[in-house]
Symmetry: C2
Subunit: 324 residues, 2 copies
């Protein structure tokens, strides 16, 4: 009898065919029980793994190509936050039915981003189930140079790349049921992992995290791990023009301080390293703003231009739906 | 303000606390944006990734501890099928609600198996969504020794570890709605990855796969990758006593030839290596049966004791529910 043909195997063959790459360090890619990979001598392996679930991490009307892009982007963003160079990824795709056209569109977005960073898709599986995408991303750092959350010290400066609040702005508009600004929606659906900045940060940064849960929440993780507090100047948070067009000042403030899904890097440096950060911004073409400083204590406090403390009405970003 | 407290972070703290391990090669484990790991010099990294979805890969009445065990076991089985030594894993857990008692029970099964093989849980995430468990398992091999699917040659012998049909027998009983034999159910819920046999196989085996989709289906993958065919003797398939007690001969034959989820290893060797395989069986305490041979051609054919060809009425194992 011929080897059986099942939809799962058809999809894997489809993925395998499209996932070509030119990496010589992939000893064995898609098509066996596991991938075999050659980590360069003298490097430490860095592994991130994140899942996106339909109706939780993206609205149901998200295009499959955008889901593909984002599922890899959130993982590459984690590698960026470690200062790692990305190399390989695996993909576990749960689908309600074996839909080749959907998979093709998904892969287009996924592989577009993979190619941008020379990341090879080397394995994983396809299963039946509610739409869910789990990705593991692999990369490496020079030994001892991984950017951690626990290195911030009082007196350090706090920095953030790009702009904040865009993705949360898109979600807010989406929830309101009106139109969603295309520029905001693009930031929600196709976040750009800050790989180049992350790769440049190890000699400079004392701690780093990517902004997935909201600035105050994620900076809170850095402070908790480092045993410090932080003071943030709300007016220093980098705001895209489109956010000014679409939201009033109070809404903007909330979106920027607590909105997640921007996948910018938030990092700290010693106070003497302003010029070094400016050089990284110039080299990478990514804006980097100083938004506050690390202090003794345990709290993350935000202040307005008049020095008045500000608290959000909700603690953190809740992705797509609200957390129970 | 204090760093926000969200159920997701509580669960991660819970997992982190319980996932202690003694591995010195984990540079940075749970609690940062990614894990940092030290692959030993001169080894190639092996990465497997598989997802289990509720209602697809396990019946809804499966105990959380069994789901935990199985989600790691199917991935360690993939490493075994590559001849790899397991080292680390990451876990992405999607849960309908943040249920600490469920997570504790799940972790008990997951970590019981992890400890058996000195595997450290080093990262991942917890998200809201339909119950789904994605695991990536990492290990290593000596360069060039990974067991692949494409090395079988005509004249090779075909071997299988342990017994076949047990897990499929449990599923058949479960579907019938009667009682499920506890011995069969244990094989379905707590498969034992054949790590020790897998580690011993690289000098001996020409190809290897684990039996997750059913013997004929999985051997079909080996044959397709190797460009060969195979002849299997149905009466040589190792049958547990409990299967004889619970099923007639025709049902047993079907369960053994096409039933999946046993996670035994099916491998091929040159015909001269019978003694070497016997030595591995003796060293590991795992029965290994010779069940057929590799032939020229492209087909996997099964024969009964009278030499009559046999075909199943269904091509392969369908896990829990039937494939559309």
């Amino acid at each position: 009898m011929k080897p059986p043909t099942r939809p799962e195997f058809d999809l894997i063959a489809r993925i395998r065919q499209r996932a070509s790459h030119g990496r010589g360090d992939v000893v064995l890619g898609i098509g066996d029980d596991a991938a075999v990979l050659a980590v360069p001598a003298g490097r430490q392996l860095v592994v991130a793994m994140d899942t996106l679930n339909a109706g939780v991490h993206f609205p149901g009307d998200t295009a499959p190509g955008d889901i593909g892009w984002k599922s890899l982007a959130v993982n590459l963003s984690d590698l960026a936050a470690m200062g790692a160079e990305p190399a390989w990824c695996t993909l576990s795709l749960s689908l309600p039915s074996a839909d080749p056209a959907w998979v093709d569109a998904f892969l287009e977005g996924f592989l577009d981003l993979a190619r941008l960073h020379d990341v090879a898709l080397v394995g994983g599986d396809t299963t039946r189930g509610p739409l869910s995408v789990c990705v593991a991303a692999h990369g490496w750092v020079e030994p001892g140079t991984a950017l951690r959350r626990d290195g911030a010290r009082p007196g350090d400066l706090v920095w953030v790349t790009g702009t904040l609040g865009d993705a949360a702005g898109a979600l807010a508009q989406w929830r309101d049921g009106g139109g969603v600004d295309a520029r905001l929606r693009a930031r929600l659906d196709r976040p750009v992992p800050r790989i180049a900045v992350g790769r440049a940060l190890p000699p400079v940064a004392s701690a780093c995290i990517d902004v997935s849960d909201g600035l105050l929440a994620d900076l809170g993780h850095v402070c908790a791990a480092s045993g410090v507090g932080a003071e943030i100047l709300l007016d220093a948070l980098p705001c895209p023009e489109v956010l000014r067009e679409c939201f009033d000042a109070a809404a903007r403030r909330r979106l920027q301080a607590t909105g997640g899904d921007d996948y910018e890097l938030c990092f700290t440096t010693r106070g003497t390293l302003r010029d070094a950060v400016a050089a990284i911004a110039a080299d990478t073409g990514v804006d980097i703003a100083c938004i506050g400083r690390i202090v003794a204590g345990r709290e993350v406090e935000a202040f307005d231009a008049e020095g008045r403390p500000w608290r959000p009405d909700r603690p953190g970003h809740e992705h797509f739906t609200t957390q129970e």
